[in-house]
């Protein structure tokens, strides 16, 4: 069981709000020319230099989006930033700034928040993003993280969900279903741990899928790859709710249909292993409905196929059809079944 330890415990109330924010953000230096003013005034100041500014926001809630039993605070901070940067990537834009609002109950110490911010810092460092604002408040129960990410892109390179046309190829990066497989492993360990708190599991076999769930990476490398190849996708979305739901978002926004080839969906061996260990579970179901993979799902013109066909990280999984053809999954047996979005079960616990 992964746990964070509080060796020293400083109460948040001992520091006060202003000192706390200063303490948490003192390591964050500004990296982008466009960031004129960061933390410390009523608002941050950004210079857009004639580019398009893109803005995305997301909230992560303890007990809904994450479970403290198996989520190290540092990973949580990293992931909270990563999922917002992933939305910026899905616009074909480069993230530049974030604001972070956090509310925590008095169960959390200053040391705990420092751990969380260490993860936020790591993500900012890795992706050259400036933290430019936000506050830390008290919550009656649990932890709430609300992040807004700001990015920029030349207006002619901006990609919406709505630009897919008939015959476009549907591509996805990396592999799908592994994050959800990681969650399944963590949930199983949690049950075992509750029954026997001395239980020390060997999770090494599951390292990959657990990392995929706990510490997703926004696929900025794919955005750079596409740019280098001179490709502007016709539509794009990040896979947060599962392939089925997200491809449907593209089809609905673009007023088109699609055919996805089941055997083309990239699934990692580790995902297959989890499914086989858990029994009665199809890897493709995790890919279609698991979600939280934060891979990029996009469509390109057929003319661009030559430019991506040798990439190990981009997989063509289908093509766009007329809207009246519906959204279909073609099985290895060549039968077509209608795609259904079951959504991300982790979020449907209302």
């Amino acid at each position: 069981m992964i746990r964070t330890e509080d060796i020293t415990r400083t109460e948040i109330s001992d520091l006060g709000e202003f000192a706390l924010i200063k303490h948490l953000t003192k390591e964050f230096e500004i990296k982008n020319d466009s960031t004129i003013k960061g933390v410390g005034d009523d608002a941050a100041v950004i210079d857009s230099k004639g580019k398009r500014t893109v803005v995305s926001t997301d909230m992560l809630i303890e007990g809904v989006d994450f479970d403290m039993t198996y989520t190290p605070l540092r990973h949580l901070g990293y992931k909270a930033v990563a999922v917002n940067l992933s939305d910026i990537a899905a616009m074909n834009a480069i993230p530049k700034q974030i604001t972070v609002n956090i509310a925590v109950s008095n169960r959390y110490s200053v040391e705990a928040l420092t751990e969380l911010y260490a993860g936020i810092y790591l993500a900012c460092q890795r992706y050259d993003v400036d933290l430019v604002g936000g506050d830390t408040s008290s919550s009656p129960a649990g932890m709430f993280i609300s992040i807004t990410a700001i990015g920029e892109v030349d207006s002619d390179k901006l990609v919406y969900r709505s630009g897919a046309s008939v015959h476009d190829l549907i591509c996805v990066s990396g592999d799908l279903g592994s994050a959800y497989s990681g969650l399944l492993v963590l949930e199983r360990e949690k049950v075992t741990f509750k029954a026997n708190p001395n239980y020390q599991p060997d999770l090494a076999t599951f390292d990959y899928v657990i990392d995929r769930y706990l510490k997703p990476e926004p696929r900025m490398d794919i955005i750079k790859f596409l740019d280098q190849k001179g490709i502007v996708p016709t539509s794009m979305i990040d896979v947060s709710d599962g392939l089925a739901s997200d491809v449907m978002q593209i089809c609905e926004a673009s007023s088109v249909g699609c055919e996805i080839y089941e055997e083309k969906i990239p699934i990692d061996y580790a995902t297959t292993m989890v499914c086989s260990e858990f029994g009665k579970m199809l890897p493709v179901s995790n890919a279609l409905n698991g979600g939280e993979d934060y891979e990029l799902l996009f469509t390109i013109k057929q003319a661009d196929y030559e430019k991506i066909k040798d990439s190990a990280e981009v997989h063509v999984i289908g093509h766009i059809t007329e809207a009246n053809m519906g959204m279909m999954l073609v099985t290895p047996q060549n039968t077509t079944i209608q795609l259904r979005a079951q959504g991300w079960t982790g979020k449907d616990d209302e």
Copy 2:
């Protein structure tokens, strides 16, 4: 006691996340040319046209920042937007877009959220602001509202907290202490109501102070007035934590001291009435330490005095001194006492 009634109750889970956001945002139309794309993709798209973009974010938490016993949902939605727009105003900028993240427990119905969004809509309408993103999640307990506001300003009109110089005049808009007085009245009514749920108070006498607390207005009119008069303040902040704390923010950021004349601090008659009714309470204490007035506190060059001296809404309350003179309050008896920031008691309940 102000209460909202749920005549019909639709469970949020009956609608689902996508349908809920569509339902809540369907009335919001785009008003600003700079808003290229609003709700409905991975991120919003903004065209800054060479101006500075300013970004501010704030979180309101049930039981910490607001009490549902006396906060109508429509007012809450309005206030959540208003306090963020106030931060944009404090940069001398014009707010253009907001994103709204909301988390609610299943105690709240779709009708309740619709009321909240009616208030958000009203604020957006009044201040010509576009809602461009955000999501609605479930919370294990209570309501959390996290809003990010984006504004724009010419780079030569941008105002920080840090620009005040010795001899500058310290000005404040409107009146101070009334919002906190309103909160005191509401808190007293809550106690009375708990003791006797059939109690129907006559709050008409306190209408002004209650409105100041429940439904603050960002002082965009002051920003326009300053612009018309050709004044760019040397520093500015909005009064959210109380005059004492906020003037200290300006002095610390600008490395200067100040003298504030107690008798120049604008206090409404209604605030004086509340203090007299509650006994042993000085109106000036509410002004100095109450907070949440969302007035603008700013400094101007002495040369600009002629331009503001006839305004009924702008009051000169003191001047900037050398840092080594400290931050002082001059009483009507001409004694000087050091300013202390006691902060906003409503937020220090950690």
